[in-house]
């Protein structure tokens, strides 16, 4: 962690050289404090978050809608020019891993399967093998149709959760992609914004445009499903009326299993899903939270404060990336205190 002293009311250290247009996603590496940021300005940038240095930049053909690390030296990107690209930081080389028929919305790399998985607005999911020789024909492992345009993806272990338009949710086992393991519907009534799997692999959190998050479980038994619940968040109550904001981002703390959500209200909240409590709310960011990511040790949280176009093309705050230190008290679960046993 950096030795810089943060002013107490800040949202964290602001990274220099942020993208020049909206930030679509940001991710910490699993190996270091490197931060990969994809943006509507058609670039993918690599930062050293602790040192606040821009280490690399890759231009794409169109806005980059998602990005992920392969290892600490290379990554993948999903672009609105329908391409899936791979780039290597050290050498600055990049190539196109494959293409979709429509903009590629999500990209994930599965360490378990050794494959890149992409979801696109062409209503398909595609799996790619990056080890193969380059060229879209060689690398494509499979194409899996979805009921609707893919809006969000998340992986945990061998499980893949796909959230699409129309509130569909498909759960796949990466070892057998022919059929979804589960075909579900979002328990929320409004459009899905983001889906993220719990680090312990028992389920996933799903957020919607209506200021709500649902906590779902893979176990379809009575017992499993009885645990599921939803809660309202990122809402503002004024004169008896609620103003409801989309929840754009969910990020799980790698150690505690608690999670942060970011909404169009500009707030980041941290929740304890097991005890159903809100643990913390960070001070308001300049504009909507577009993306969140915890570092691998959970000590840093990267926040993309970037207008997400919820009200169309309007005048907006500049896009910024904040990296804040995470204090234990903000993310540590708080189990309910049990009544003291009789003496």
């Amino acid at each position: 962690m950096s030795a810089a002293v943060l002013p107490t009311s800040s949202g964290g250290r602001e990274l220099s050289n942020p993208p020049s247009d909206g930030i679509s996603n940001l991710r910490f590496s699993n190996h270091s404090d490197h931060l990969l940021v994809s943006s509507w300005d058609k670039t993918v940038r690599l930062y050293d978050a602790s040192a606040n240095i821009l280490k690399g930049e890759f231009m794409h053909g169109g806005p980059v809608l998602d990005c992920c690390f392969h290892d600490d030296f290379s990554g993948f990107s999903a672009s609105a020019d329908n391409t899936v690209r791979r780039f290597v930081f050290g050498t600055g080389k990049e190539d196109i891993l494959g293409r979709h028929e429509a903009p590629v919305r999500c990209v994930e790399y599965s360490y378990a399967a050794g494959q890149v998985i992409t979801g696109s607005w062409d209503k398909t999911l595609k799996c790619w093998d990056p080890r193969g020789a380059s060229g879209p024909d060689r690398t494509l492992v499979g194409t899996y149709p979805q009921p609707e345009r893919v809006y969000s993806l998340s992986l945990v272990g061998h499980r893949l959760v796909v959230a699409t338009a129309g509130r569909h949710v498909n759960v796949y086992d990466l070892r057998n992609m022919s059929q979804p393991e589960q075909r579900r519907e979002s328990s929320l009534k409004y459009q899905t914004r983001c889906v993220r799997c719990y680090p312990n692999g028992t389920g996933f959190a799903l957020s919607s445009v209506e200021g709500r998050v649902a906590m779902e479980f893979f176990d379809l038994s009575e017992a499993g499903q009885s645990k599921k619940y939803a809660f309202k968040c990122h809402r503002k109550s004024e004169a008896g009326k609620d103003t409801v904001y989309p929840v754009n981002a969910i990020a799980f703390h790698p150690i505690y299993g608690t999670f942060a959500t970011g909404g169009c209200d500009g707030y980041v909240n941290v929740w304890d899903g097991n005890n159903k409590k809100r643990l913390y709310q960070y001070s308001k960011y300049p504009t909507s939270i577009a993306a969140l990511s915890f570092s691998r040790d959970g000590r840093l949280l990267a926040v993309a404060s970037s207008y997400t176009f919820e009200e169309g093309d309007i005048a907006r705050e500049p896009d910024a990336i904040f990296v804040r230190n995470v204090n234990e008290v903000e993310v540590k679960p708080k189990p309910k205190a049990l009544p003291a046993p009789p003496p």
Binding site: P63, K189, E210, V213, D242, Y245, K276, P342
Partner: protein, 642 residues
């Protein structure tokens, strides 16, 4: 007679001769025989020899005497020298030179005289010292002390002896000085003790030793005296301690009494000297007469007076304590067990039957007991207060909700609105409050081993009653709601058949009056919602959908949707009720939000952005297709073929 004849001898010869001549004459005259004349001449010779012998003998004797005298003198000198520890200054040496005995004697006598004188001097010196020693010993040794050993030893008159004696004398003088000092100390201690105890010092001292009182006179400082002085001091100290204890006891009693009766400071002032010493130790009290018998008597009298005062105030005190006890009990909502005991006690005091201090003690005990109880109940009582206040608000809110005119713009409407909102939040917290309170009460009861009573009623039963009543109310409400829903559904179905579109708004108002009392939650806390159904798409039929939320509104809406057959942009797939799982929100608000939603749904043709009271929605899509923000931003349009 080898001496040459001198005149005397010549004379004598001539006398002798003349005498012989005479004798011869005589004899001749007489005619003495030769034999006779020879015999007589022999006799005369013999007699003359005799005289000679005698004279020699005498001369011998006197010579012997002389010798003896010399020897004696010598011996005496030697003796003196030895006595004085000096080397014998020997005369013998002079003796060689002396010559005749008479000369010797002549020489030795003055020496002897000299020695004698010196011895005498020495002896006097020693005597002086010894006398002084004797003097001191008399002063510092007990009266029966044997002084006989202290005498001049004639045989030990040496300088060393003198020095020794001087040394002794000095030691004794020091000892004397020590003792004197000690005695003085003791005397001064004694004096200060006497001062404090107001005892006659002179008398005391006189008891020990009359001599000590003599000013400037001889002061006996023997062990005896010192011991007696020490004894006296001890005795007095003991007396002092006893008196002090007594006084301190009295002082503490006095303080108690002052405290009990709230004696004014002015009264207390006069006994300041006593109370300030209440914790003093023995050597700290030194003021004259501080512990005199009179003074102690004086304090005693005061204490007695105060006691009497107290007794007369006792009734008053008991009353006061009684009301204190009652107050404590009242505040802790305690009903005294066997409540009449205090009455009984009071009457007993009134009648003088019972020792009032006993009663007071009893009251004190009861009071402290009550305070303890109150303290242990404090936490629960606070919670009970909160709960009762919340119940009040709850009943106010029920009243309020029944009021038809509560939204009319009158004075205080907005205040009532505010109060209602707060009340709702409060009411939602009641079940948790009750739960926590029950838990705490149970724990308390377990710990104490008996029931927690609130003004005589078991608190747990109060809580139970409340919960039961509430549940009953809820059931009632639910039943009513279900009824109404059924009604509404029938009406809607009917009208659908006959083609009229009922306004959803009408139903909304009626239905959303009551709110469900699900488990209470705070806003922004995740709570379980009854979302066991999976919502269905609009393609579903008219079927009346069961939902746990029991909101009539949602039922109406759903059926409307079914009626309309097509979805409006951003219209929820299933009509959304803000699932009243958080009854903290007024359902009126829900209604409004729903209304808002509805309005936006209604305006199908709107091209301008209409807020869903959220910042989410823009409805200028060419088709009834949902798009994400990213799709809009990218200008992505779904091809009609897909």
């Amino acid at each position: 007679m080898a001496k040459p004849p001198n005149r005397q001898s010549l004379q004598m010869e001539s006398s002798r001769g003349s005498l012989l001549q005479e004798l011869k004459i005589i004899w001749d005259e007489v005619g003495e025989s030769e034999a006779e004349r020879d015999k007589m001449l022999l006799e005369i010779e013999q007699e003359c020899l005799e005289v000679y012998r005698r004279k020699v003998y005498q001369a011998n004797m006197s010579r012997a005497q002389l010798r003896q005298a010399i020897a004696d003198a010598e011996a005496e000198i030697a003796a003196i020298c030895s006595a004085m520890g000096e080397p014998p200054v020997h005369v013998r040496q002079c003796n060689q030179n002396a010559g005749s005995l008479k000369e010797e004697l002549k020489a030795i006598i003055p020496e002897l005289e000299e020695m004698k004188k010196r011895k005498n001097d020495r002896k006097n010196q020693i005597l002086e010292v010894v006398e002084q020693i004797k003097e001191i010993l008399i002063e510092i040794r007990p009266p029966g002390y044997d002084l006989s050993t202290v005498a001049v030893d004639e045989s030990a008159l040496s300088v060393r002896m003198l020095e020794e004696l001087h040394g002794q004398l000095q030691l004794l003088q020091e000892e004397k000085a020590d003792r004197l000092r000690k005695v003085q100390e003791h005397l001064s201690t004694l004096s200060s003790l006497c001062l404090v105890l107001s005892i006659d010092f002179k008398q005391m001292v006189g008891e020990v030793d009359p001599n000590l009182n003599e000013t400037g006179g001889f002061k006996n400082t023997s062990d005896d005296t010192i011991e007696r002085l020490t004894c006296a001091i001890h005795r007095l100290r003991e007396i002092k301690r006893q008196r002090m204890e007594k006084l301190q006891d009295l002082a503490s009693t006095m303080l108690e009494l002052w405290n009990l009766m709230d004696t004014p400071t002015e009264e207390q002032q006069s006994f300041q000297s006593v109370t300030c010493n209440i914790a003093a130790s023995e050597h700290e009290i030194i003021e004259p007469d501080a512990l005199s018998v009179d003074f102690i008597k004086h304090v005693e009298a005061e204490v007695l007076r105060l006691e009497e005062q107290k007794n007369s105030k006792m009734k008053e005190l008991v009353l006061r304590k009684k009301s204190e006890l009652e107050e404590i009990r009242r505040r802790a909502h305690l009903v005294a067990e066997g409540g009449s005991e205090t009455e009984f006690a009071y009457e007993a005091v009134e009648n003088g039957d019972v020792d009032s201090s006993l009663v007071l003690g009893q009251m004190e005990f009861l009071i402290s007991e009550a305070k303890e109880q109150a303290f242990s109940r404090k936490d629960i009582l606070e919670r009970v207060e909160k709960w009762l206040a919340a119940c009040e608000e709850e009943s106010w809110l029920e009243e309020y909700n029944r009021d038809e005119n509560r939204y009319s713009a009158g004075r205080g409407t907005h205040l009532a609105l505010k109060r209602a909102e707060k009340a709702r939040i409060l009411v939602s917290k009641i079940p948790a409050m009750v739960e926590a309170l029950s838990a705490k009460t149970t724990a308390w009861e377990k710990e104490k081993g008996n029931e927690f009573k609130y003004d005589g009623v078991s608190l747990l039963s109060m809580l139970e009653d409340y919960t039961t009543t509430r549940q009953e109310k809820e059931q009632e409400r639910k039943r009513q709601r279900d009824q109404r829903r059924l009604q509404g559904q029938l009406t809607a179905a009917q009208e659908a058949l006959f083609g009229s579109k009922p306004s959803p708004l009408k139903n909304v108002n009626k239905v959303t009056r009551t709110f469900s009392s699900g488990p209470s939650r705070r806003p922004s806390t995740p709570g379980a919602t009854s979302q066991s159904d999976s919502p269905r798409s609009a393609k579903s039929s008219h079927a009346y959908r069961k939902s746990d939320d029991g909101s009539g509104l949602s039922a109406v809406r759903r059926d409307l949707d079914a009626t309309f057959m097509s979805r409006k942009p951003f219209a929820p797939l299933v009509s959304d009720s803000n699932m009243p799982s958080t009854p903290t929100k007024c359902n009126c608000d829900n209604a409004e939000e729903e209304i808002g939603t509805h309005k936006s749904c209604m305006k199908i043709e709107a091209t301008a952005p209409v807020s869903l009271t959220s910042q989410a929605v823009v409805i200028d899509m060419p088709r009834e297709m949902e798009y994400s923000f990213e799709e809009r931003r990218a200008g992505f349009v779904v091809k009609s073929s897909s």
